[in-house]
């Protein structure tokens, strides 16, 4: 771990001001991902700005009938919130499917959105990685590379990493918006749909956030009801990243929404696929995974996504 300075910000505006113009600055909240990456020298910030004291730790009702989740609300608290459990069940289910109890106690809503990929080649600094070193190449895509856990859609010839968050998949399903603040005091609200960038030839750029811009909250629109489910499929029962995860809201009339985790560089959802929900899992996935470019090792994710959704729909009908 390189030397770095450490400062505590009293509010979001101060945090943004401290970070402004300093490319070596990073915000730190729970630190569940950033500290690991610093130990491995994948992240080498010269300055850490602790944002846990910014007071952004409340969940409030919005005028639109939704909820505004402060960026510092811990994953454990968010999952346990009565309003979330009652009206946004898919979010609670996604949260408790992620990490471990100890990590969820530390991890925050804002930090969770910004966690980095768990691609093994991103983590091994001997290996070429365009995310770590733009232009270096992608060792995963080289002959003999280990790609089983990696992405099948939304990927590029420069990067096939996935976004690891479960929480973000449920938030994407719920049409969440990310609220931010910059040093000039400007705030903006970014639909989660537009928040993450696809890798293209710049996989090092992962979100639309500008340098120094800080997430202050995630807002959820008014509840949409329906049967809400999250099925995370992995090689063991807990404490593993998804091979595939499926978030589902299904209304009584058979309509609804579907989002996927574990397959793409961002939570993966398409309106055209949602529209196919009354026609079953096969129809949904034909749209949702249209254009997928799996490797031989991870092609099973296509089948797995469809079968997982089919099982969830069967269970929804059984309820």
């Amino acid at each position: 771990m390189r030397e770095f300075s450490f400062e505590r910000a009293g509010d979001a505006g101060q945090a943004a001001t401290l970070a402004a113009g300093d490319t070596g600055a990073k915000f730190i909240a729970g630190g569940t991902n950033l500290l690991d990456l610093m130990k491995l020298e994948i992240e080498t910030p010269s300055r850490l700005i602790d944002v846990t004291g910014t007071g952004l730790d409340r969940i409030e009702q919005t005028d639109a009938g939704g909820l505004r989740i402060g960026a510092m609300v811990r994953n454990t608290d968010l999952a346990a919130d009565d309003r979330i459990r009652r009206d946004y069940g898919v979010l609670t289910r996604a949260l408790v499917a992620g990490a471990s109890g100890q990590l969820r106690n530390m991890a925050t809503s804002g930090g969770n959105l910004l966690q980095r990929t768990r691609c093994p080649y991103f983590y091994d600094t001997n290996m070429a990685c365009n995310k770590r070193s733009p232009g270096a190449g992608c060792a995963a895509l080289d002959s003999g590379g280990f790609t089983r856990p990696l992405g099948v859609i939304g990927i590029s010839d420069h990067c096939i990493a996935t976004h690891p968050s479960d929480m973000a998949v449920a938030m994407r399903l719920l049409d969440a918006q990310v609220e931010t603040l910059d040093a000039a005091g400007n705030s903006r609200s970014i639909p989660l749909e537009e928040f993450y960038l696809l890798p293209g030839d710049t996989p090092e750029r992962e979100t639309v956030l500008e340098p120094g811009e800080i997430i202050t909250a995630v807002t959820l629109p008014a509840p949409i009801g329906g049967h809400q489910a999250y099925h995370k499929v992995r090689d063991r029962a807990s404490y593993a990243f998804a091979l595939v995860s499926v978030a589902l809201v299904r209304q009584a009339d058979g309509s609804g929404r579907v989002a996927l985790g574990g397959v793409a560089p961002q939570p993966w959802r398409r309106a055209a696929a949602d529209a196919e929900l009354p026609n079953g899992a096969g129809a949904v996935m034909a749209r949702l995974l249209d254009g997928a470019r799996p490797t031989a090792q991870n092609a099973f994710k296509i089948t797995l996504a469809e079968r997982t959704l089919a099982a969830m729909l069967a269970e929804a009908e059984g309820n």
Partner: protein
Amino acid sequence: MDFNEPAGTNPADRGTVLGKSTPRIDGPLKTSGHAPYAYERHDVAEDQLAGYPVFSAIARGRITRIDSAAAEAAPGVVAVIRSTDMDVLGKHGMNVVPHFGGDEIRHYHQAVALVVAESFEAARAASGLVRVAYDAEGHADYDLSTHRDTAMARKAEPDQDVGDFAAAFAEAPVTLDETYTTPCQTHAMMEPHASIAQWDEEGRLTVWSSTQMVNWLVEGLCSAFDLDPDQVRVDSPFIGGGFGSKLFMRADSVLAALGARATGRPVKVALPRPAIANNTTHRARTIQRIRIGADRDGRITAIAHDGLSHTQPGGDGENSTAQTPFFYAGANRLITPRLVDLHLPEAHAMRAPGEASGLMALEIAMDEMAEKLGMDPVEFRILNDTQVDPGQPDRPFSDRNFVTCLRQGADRFGWADRNTTPGGRREGMWLIGHGMAGAYRGALTMNSGALVRLRPDGTAVVETDMTDIGTGSYTIIAQTAAEMLGLGVDQVEVRLGDSRYPVSSGSGGQFGAPSSTAGVYAACVKLREEIARRLGNVDAGSLDFADGRVTASGRSTSLAEIAADGEITAEDKVAFGEFQDDVLMATFAAHFVELAVHAGTGETRVRRMLAVCDAGRILNPLSARSQVIGGMVMGLGAALMEELAIDTGRGFFANHDLAGYEVPVHADIASQEVVFLDTLDPASTPLKAKGVGELGLCGIAAAVANAHYNATGLRIRDYPLTLDKVLEELPAI
């Protein structure tokens, strides 16, 4: 003490302490954080420095240059030691690949430099500044499957060629010929390899380390640094798991000693978790072809097991055929262990080396064969039990109760009530399956020494270089001495893991418990003889030790009284005689598993597991159970998830941390039940005991695989049984 014939009745048979469930005596130290593990031994040497290794970025080739100038100039750095600055250092005879020195790279994450600094953080930061240039050797071949039929494969062990396999197999009315594969696995023990090293002014080396075999580490360090054994002290009182990964010297102790020599200060080195899979050893991948022929009533007439694995040149890989010469009857046998040299990291021992992989295959084959015969797999195994070495019928098993394990297990598990139609039982979205498998693991013994002190207060101390790798050695050694001396367990202090104590068996191959307690028994017998002498040359055999007193001819004397004038010590070693070669000594178990497979996703959840074990006297049922359930958890991991993923282009294990290499978590483990048969094996040790540390792992993965087949009707012969291997063939939802 020479152990030259099966044990008769002896004082250890009383069973007042031995054989009783006894909580581990080192438990409070561990749960309160006071047990001293190697890396945290801040008090053993002053002014410790921290070393952080630099690891090779290529799998094979040569180092052309190591530029350490920037690292040397970094804050807090005291020294940088480069592999290219010295010749290849000597290794222990059991090591395959050297740990340091020279310019040759033989595997990924081989240590190429060490940065020593005032703090761990400073060393780690500076390690990133060391620039290493390589001349990589291209076109290396890292895929075992491409070697399956090459004639180049060499033998790990002699073939067993008995009768005429080819003819008998050709004539058999019911046959099986299938190939099974098991992947590379890593030990994933909790505590990383770690050492603190210090040299004194006379050139003597002390290493506080985490090792299963204290004396082997002494030997290794002598080889690396050209020392005599009396110039080296190793101390390893607590070990946070090893599973074979800490059997032999590893880079941590070599690098710590190099750092300490270069700086003149104590240096500590731990291997970072992401480097362990590639820097240290792993269980080799295997490709196993098994052929079984039987007559129509189910008697095996022909059995062949061709087991291929890989190794670095000079090693032994994983002999998956280890159990097949002995486990089941059959007059015609062809057992052919084979090896291929691959430049993956060093393949070596991992818990139950050989049998763990071999039974993963053989016990599926037995299940498949039973199905072909239309037989219950339990009955098929009972029918083919043997009480003698099938290849050498004049050599009997010393004590084999496998059939009892099978019958008791079937009864307890409710085996008769299972669904016998594969894929035939479903509960909602879950397919339910039941499976079983047999387990076999050899019962090695190793010579083992100990010293016993009777203190003036009437309590005892045992000293031996035996290790406790989380297994419970402290406790069974205390129980042994307590039994022999008529003391309570709390009146025996056990000191382990220091090379200044008598050389023991060490921990490995499940030989540690029976061997080390036999050594303590021998020392206690000697102490009893000394006590008999002091009581007026009475017959030691007539003495009765109980409640801290010894009774001879009706006269009772307290041990405190006997030692009142000063501590009495006795040292001895058990030496196991050649008669043990005339019998087969092994442990046995029957495993039963119930599981559920999600019909949509193929996720597998094991619901309950039962093991019935036959391993002679169980010294401490509580810690023995812990060993067996731990083995079962490890086997569940082997069955369902554990695999070191090989980057076949670059020749290394890509998922080299505990996020990428998944082992079972609590949520994977439901009900586990362990039953020990109440048996004694007089040929094994004076205590008539055999080890169980590896037995629990043997066979369990195949029981899971067989239950998975029963649930789904899909036979997977390629471990682990991850969902991608069944997904396309699962039923429509």
